[in-house]
Symmetry: C3
Amino acid sequence: MIDLLALCAFNAAYAHTIDSDALEQWPAFFTPDCHYRITHVENEQEGLAAGIVYADSRAMLEDRIAALREANIYERQRYRHILGVPLLVSTDVESAHARTPFLVVRIMATGQSEVFASGEYRDHFVQQDGQLLLAERVAICDSTVTDTLMALPL
Amino acid sequence: MIDLLALCAFNAAYAHTIDSDALEQWPAFFTPDCHYRITHVENEQEGLAAGIVYADSRAMLEDRIAALREANIYERQRYRHILGVPLLVSTDVESAHARTPFLVVRIMATGQSEVFASGEYRDHFVQQDGQLLLAERVAICDSTVTDTLMALPL
Amino acid sequence: MIDLLALCAFNAAYAHTIDSDALEQWPAFFTPDCHYRITHVENEQEGLAAGIVYADSRAMLEDRIAALREANIYERQRYRHILGVPLLVSTDVESAHARTPFLVVRIMATGQSEVFASGEYRDHFVQQDGQLLLAERVAICDSTVTDTLMALPL
């Protein structure tokens, strides 16, 4: 059984990877044929799947990070994820569905920080070769006012 | 023994119920003769028990939700709860006392969001018919400046 | 083995001690020869160890609290810590290294509150006489804009 503590530990490592600027390690949290999206609550309710960011493979996530590095956007802002305990919707030996609340603070190069996004991850975790991975993560932002600068992964 | 992980899982489900607008399921987290209050830290220190919101039965919580639906207030704002890990003050087989920090972001219909409230739940959990329930939850807000629009449960 | 749940419980008690103004109990979370620092991410990257607050013994932490009480600063503001789940970097029977994200809301005497600081604890926990204690806690703030009023412990 995939249990709550394993998901908590996974999410702590996931958030730390982004927040410590180890972005090249971020795609490794996903399966090769993963689905990753950032969207907001109204788009999601209306079934508008495309969202703000869309990827349907780990390779696309790797491309995204490479593009971020190219553009040097990563130097202009940092994030701090504060994640809640997951709500475990269903779980068995090889798979789990969970929902996890997130709050992200953005720290700009000036040193100023602000609450940047809140929302919920809707996740499908799988166990592959003894490793817990995300087959799907949809980051659903609460706010419909989307910052066009949204650059780092949520 | 009621343990820390069980309380974490309970709180994740509780917060998700409110934040996903499944408000009709919210009273089911409480015992029939529960005590629920929202207050702030100064009122609590002075023993002013009434607080901002007061209910002493599950039926009163159900009435409150019905009134919210009637007033359509639920369409005008949503919350996102970010809860800390509970501090387990005491626990045995059938009962536990705990304190859990909360942060609530409010998202208005315009899509704007703001940190709305922070504080601490002071909880008495009981095990009834194999189910973990709140016999008492007092949500003590840190700020004494209370928003008169406070409508959704904390 | 020092496990994740033990660290979660420790941090919940630590944060509650500060946020409930039981500051005299705060030094007891540390070993007698502890190392405690508050700094920010740029100073830390450049190896500027001194930081904003520095102590290298429990006695220095006790002095700090005594000074705070003397100055009555504790009446002018309160904090609310929202802590994430620790990332357990390494652990064995007697020692663990972990990193824990924090968000601190500050509540002023006027009742107004604001997100005051975000960052990460870099911790070294040890087991001494059956008790989990901090041999080292470095609180690394994300923002380089430091509030000179920073008075309470993080």
